[in-house]
């Protein structure tokens, strides 16, 4: 074998011993005290992430420019542009159709529920997708907006067609959104037609999601729309998640499970909207109202 590089950077044996001891302690702390390690790493990581974000944004722009050039001038000029416009229109119309459905159903429900209005005006910020997850193990996107733009952890990410995922990490100028198709993200949801609640969770290696804990007597069927319930997760109520593809209930199962095709194609996303509040407005109001006061969570008799 050809001669190896000399380990010149680490210095003499004492320095090397010191590095090994530091590395060992660091690894042990990370494994046995993950929360502490997370806080420390987050503090150290901010300047690192900022520095890495510069070449990342540069490469993302280059990648975007090359893809745009390829799609516009090499592969099917004109048809691509028309197709893109039509797809955008379909997405907007799907979103509108879903909103109208929600409005129609809301009008029929109990008057007490009306104060939980469907379309609470929520502030949003538009962000561009500048990268995909750094490993194969998570389904995530890197966005070009971060803490400087008011983005925080747990905020929801959407497109006009439906929900995309939730912010899990932020730096000053970037943020990471865990996609709805990732098994590590769960979003409370409701079947639009039957109003049965459940929990939507991603499936590994699949571009589908699963809605779990649907009541056993629910009349959920193929083709039903699944929307956010607005209970937690940074999403207001009534945002489209997807359409039921298949419903399952085994002989001994307590609940039904539905396989849902997400309304957003997360593989081809380029721009998204970040909802600038980690909790829905109605939940915030409930939490902010003092206990015992009228309208509070617990009104004393």
């Amino acid at each position: 074998m050809i001669g190896r590089l000399r380990p010149g950077i680490v210095g003499g044996p004492n320095v090397r011993r010191f590095i090994i001891v530091v590395l060992t302690i660091a690894v042990l702390v990370m494994v046995f005290l993950p929360r502490t390690a997370h806080l420390v790493l987050q503090g150290i990581g901010q300047p690192f992430a900022e520095a890495v974000a510069i070449p990342l944004k540069g490469l993302a722009s280059l990648d975007y420019a090359v893809r745009e050039w390829w799609n516009h001038y090499v592969a099917l000029q004109g048809i691509y542009e028309r197709n893109r416009q039509l797809r955008q229109q379909i997405q907007i119309l799907q979103g509108e159709l879903n909103r109208y459905r929600e409005q129609a159903q809301a009008a029929q429900r109990l008057a007490a529920l009306l104060r939980f209005r469907e379309h609470v005006p929520v502030p949003t910020v538009a962000a561009r997708v500048i990268g995909r997850n750094a490993s194969n193990w998570y389904q995530a996107l890197i966005l070009d907006k971060g803490q400087n733009d008011g983005v925080e952890k747990e905020m929801g990410v959407v497109t006009p067609a439906g929900i995309v995922g939730q912010i899990v990490k932020t730096t000053a100028s970037t943020s990471i959104v865990l996609l709805i198709t990732d098994p590590n993200l769960a979003v409370p949801a409701v079947i639009q037609r039957t109003r049965d609640e459940g929990l939507v969770q991603g499936i590994a290696h699949e571009q589908k999601v699963r809605m779990k804990y649907i009541p056993p007597l629910s009349a959920v069927k193929v083709g039903d729309m699944v929307v956010t319930s607005g209970l937690t997760g940074g999403f207001p109520r009534g945002l489209l998640i997807g359409e039921v593809l298949k419903v399952e209930k085994g002989p001994g199962d307590l609940f039904q499970t539905a396989w849902v095709v997400p309304s957003v194609d997360v593989q081809t996303l380029e721009e998204v909207l970040i909802i600038l509040q980690a909790r829905p407005q109605e939940v915030r109001e409930m939490l902010e109202t003092p206990l015992g006061s009228p309208g509070g969570m617990m009104t004393s008799p």
Binding site: R4, P55, L59, R67, A134, K169
Partner: protein, 162 residues
């Protein structure tokens, strides 16, 4: 020169992995550039630099990943360190043989991720993950390591001639 190379790896490897590599990944499987780099650094410079650089690269990878903030840091540090230790005991290995340790380290690191990221304890799940992701990625990592190592060997041989 070496410091410059390390700085380049730290600041460019993860951006390449998250942008350009996504468009070039066969069947949606991307090689883990940081793991390959940690292995190569461990192979060429020993366990201390392998561990330290592996940890740094893993840390940057963690910053731009949807998972916890220490998993890549620890696994990459251990991979770089183990590669250095391994090569200390098998000093006569020819550079093409790097394929096998890289594949093994990639598989082990993948299993660690499987437990922490997916919480998979069912055998069916493990088999599925092995066939769909772990093995293809490990083979891709191994092949990339051989190519990178071959290029590095040639470069160093040329420099030695001069």
């Amino acid at each position: 020169m070496k410091l410059l190379l390390y700085a380049g790896l730290i600041f460019l490897l993860v951006p390449i992995q998250t942008t350009i590599l996504h468009s070039l990944s066969p069947f949606g499987i991307r090689p883990d550039l940081c793991l390959v780099a940690a292995c190569l650094i461990g192979f060429w410079t020993g366990h201390v630099e392998g561990g330290a650089m592996g940890g740094l690269l893993g840390f940057v990878q963690d910053l731009f990943s949807g998972g916890t903030l220490w998993l890549n840091t620890v696994t990459k540090a251990l991979v770089g360190f183990s590669m250095g230790v391994l090569i200390k005991h098998f000093a006569n290995l020819t550079s093409q043989w790097i394929f096998f340790p890289v594949v093994i380290f990639s598989l082990i690191s993948g299993m660690v991720f499987l437990v922490f990221a997916r919480g998979a304890i069912e055998l069916i799940g493990v088999v599925q993950h092995l066939s769909i992701m772990l093995v293809p990625q490990a083979l891709l990592d191994g092949m990339l390591a051989v190519v990178a190592n071959w290029a590095l060997t040639r470069r160093i041989a040329q420099t030695d001639k001069l």
